[in-house]
């Protein structure tokens, strides 16, 4: 099921990599992502991912273990995003 993670974190270089690595280790692909915040202040992240409730709970607890993360809220019921009707177009990488 779709899970929505609302994360408040220090906006410092490397924070995003730490957050992403938590999802990667649980083999959970991030489907949607939004970040707001200026460097040196708090950042607000909204991440959507497909995961079971058990995995989502584990992800939330593991996210909270990160020193840069202050809060993780579950917004899965209220849905922070509209369904991902992507406006992006992808270009194939060429040599």
């Amino acid at each position: 099921m779709e899970q929505v993670f609302e994360i408040t974190a220090n906006h410092v270089p490397g924070m995003l990599a730490r957050v992403e690595s938590i999802f990667r280790r649980q083999r959970t692909a991030i489907r949607g992502f939004f970040l707001e915040g200026g460097e040196g202040s708090a950042a607000h992240l909204t991440i959507t991912a497909e995961a079971s409730s058990d995995v989502a709970n584990l992800l939330r607890k593991q996210l909270m273990r990160l020193v840069d993360v202050h809060a993780v809220a579950d917004s899965s019921q209220t849905r922070a995003f509209a369904p991902p009707e992507s406006s992006f177009t992808f270009k194939e990488k060429t040599a």
Partner: protein
């Protein structure tokens, strides 16, 4: 202490000197490191600091030595490496410390800030590389922030669930001048206590269990909860089993102990765990070497899970009574609430299992069995209360089985990561931290050769380590798996070894070789008598011995094979 380390308020000093002074203020007595270009400003500052620097011959050894120091003292160990390859060589040790919750502070020098991100000489993205294997890491770009970052690093390494942290400092930051005043040691947060409602529910479950078992991990040692655990076990007469990392948390020679559980644990500990109706897990994480196939593990048991790390509670096994908090604080809360359950029938069953499958090994005439070599040394030295470190492999599991440990911090091993090469540098670190104790490193021929250059450092520092190399001429555990699970298709496991005693002599240590069981005690005595430097005993052992009990990885505990079918008919000596 030199004048350099007693600065007046807001003295202007080089950041490297302020950093060295902060290390002194944090109580650092030893640093395990290897210098290089980028770290020279810090080495220059350390020259006049009251800190002993052990010049390791590889940075991996530095990280393991810091782990050994931390595990023997309970204080964070410190390792130091230069930029690029020096820093990347620390990674195995950091990963090991992360899995075993060992507090270490790794300091790495980095290329100067103008060169960051430009692939300069010896530049590596050590922050990116170590993020998954540290509790946290920092790249210090503002010289003024360096002392405070060091303080925070020590606080974080040892607070909550302990673990490794890394501070990466560019060379120009180390060289910069800053206004600095000596800071105080940052106070740790008070230990977390469990929710009182959950606590009462857990106490009721414990008091009314019929077949309870205390399942004790390394968290009991790191939180200093051994005394509380003993009181709980004595009050309730609940059997106690420990993990590899928990060895020593509860005295293994005590009647309530059923020894280590897990893939190579005692059969009766595993049967008791699997047959229990209530598992009281304290600072343990239900890892796969404990549970085997999770779906069939302890099918009738409810679980009380006490852990400082909320992530561990329910991660592998559902917790019916989750108690999130520091093991010592929670046991203190729990003690007055629990009554003694009626475990008389349960103990009869356990005693029957003990009689049915005692831990032991067979008698052999002319060849030394590794179990015998470990058992003899334990009997010879147990009154000296030695610290023992092991490496990884068969010898590690035999040590876990036959080296009975009665105190916390006395059995130091690589549990989670299973890092070959851990044992000797960890012994060096432990000896630095505990110069008052006999420190013995039990090693294998394969694992010894991964970090044997540490002998040079031990000789230089005149450390009286006792190194026992149990030489079965191969990678025994890998061989065992090929033997049991790959139709005896042995490949890449035989080792053509050097003469380890001569090798020790070449490093400047004292070396002995022993090949016969009846000569073992005399050689051990000679090695124990060596002072002023390390002694190595090369023990030539039976090469095809396998380690039992064992169950195949990923299989149910029910599949456990208690003793080697090859020798099942031979007489067995009980431990």
């Amino acid at each position: 202490m030199s004048a350099q380390f007693q600065p007046r308020e807001k003295t202007r000093v080089r950041a490297a000197n302020a950093m060295a002074a902060e290390l002194v203020a944090q109580g650092v007595s030893h640093i395990f490191g290897h210098p290089g270009g980028a770290s020279l400003p810090l080495y220059d500052a350390l020259l006049s600091a009251p800190i002993t620097h052990l010049l390791m011959r590889h940075e991996q050894c530095a990280a393991h030595a810091a782990q050994g120091y931390a595990r023997a003292t309970g204080r964070p160990g410190v390792c130091l490496a230069t930029s690029g390859p020096g820093a990347t060589n620390l990674i195995t040790g950091l990963a090991d410390a992360m899995l075993d919750s060992t507090p270490i502070v790794a300091i790495t020098a980095q290329v100067a800030t103008p060169l960051l991100g430009r692939d300069g000489f010896q530049e590596a993205d050590i922050l990116g590389m170590t993020a998954p294997v540290t509790k946290h890491n920092w790249l210090v770009l503002e010289p003024q922030e360096l002392p405070g970052t060091i303080r925070e690093a020590f606080r974080l390494a040892s607070s909550g669930r302990p673990g490794p942290v890394l501070v990466d400092v560019p060379r120009d930051v180390l060289q910069a001048e800053i206004a600095w005043e000596e800071g105080s040691v940052t106070a740790s947060l008070p230990p977390r206590r469990a929710d009182p409602v959950g606590l009462r529910r857990a106490a009721f479950a414990i008091s009314n269990a019929k077949r309870p078992i205390l399942y004790v991990g390394g968290g009991v040692i790191s939180s200093g909860a051994s005394a509380e655990l003993r009181r709980l076990a004595k009050k309730t007469r609940i059997p106690v089993t420990t993990t590899l990392m928990g060895k020593g948390a509860y005295p293994e020679t005590d009647a309530l102990s059923v020894g280590m559980l897990g893939m190579h644990g005692t059969a009766y500990a595993n049967w008791a765990m699997n047959g229990s109706d209530l598992i009281i897990a304290v600072g343990a994480r239900f890892d796969d070497r404990i549970t085997g196939k999770l779906a069939t593990f302890a099918p009738h048991a409810k679980v009380v899970h006490i852990d400082i790390d909320e992530v561990e509670i329910g991660k592998n096994r559902k917790a019916d009574y989750p108690l999130h908090g520091d093991a010592r604080a929670v046991l203190q809360q729990l003690l007055p609430l629990v009554g003694a359950p009626d475990t008389a029938d349960w103990w009869k069953e356990i005693e029957a299992w003990k009689a049915k499958a005692p831990l032991g090994y067979r008698e052999e005439g002319d060849v030394i069995l590794p179990q015998f070599a470990i058992d003899r040394l334990w009997r010879l030295t147990r009154d000296l209360r030695p610290i023992v470190t092991t490496d990884v492999g068969q010898h590690q599991m035999w040590a876990a089985q036959f080296w009975k440990c009665d105190e916390p911090g006395m059995f130091i091993t690589s549990g989670g990561l299973g890092t070959m090469g851990y044992g000797l540098p960890a012994a060096l670190g432990a000896q630095c931290g505990r110069p008052d104790r006999l420190v013995i490193n039990l090693n294998g021929d394969g694992s010894f050769q991964q970090t044997m250059q540490t002998l040079a450092t031990a000789v230089e520092a005149r450390l009286p380590l006792k190194i026992i190399v149990l030489d079965n001429q191969g990678l025994g555990m890998v061989r065992q798996w090929q033997d049991l699970f790959y139709d005896r298709r042995f490949f890449s496991v035989a080792l053509k070894n050097p003469d380890f005693a001569k090798l020790a002599e070449a490093f400047g240590a004292v070396g002995f070789t022993v090949r016969r069981p009846d000569e073992l005690d005399a050689v051990y005595e000679k090695a124990l008598a060596v002072t002023g430097g390390p002694a190595l005993v090369h023990v030539v052992t039976e090469p095809t011995e396998n380690c039992f009990p064992m169950w195949p990885a990923g299989q149910s505990i029910d599949t456990m094979v208690v003793e080697d079918p090859k020798y099942a008919a031979k007489s067995t000596k009980k431990s």
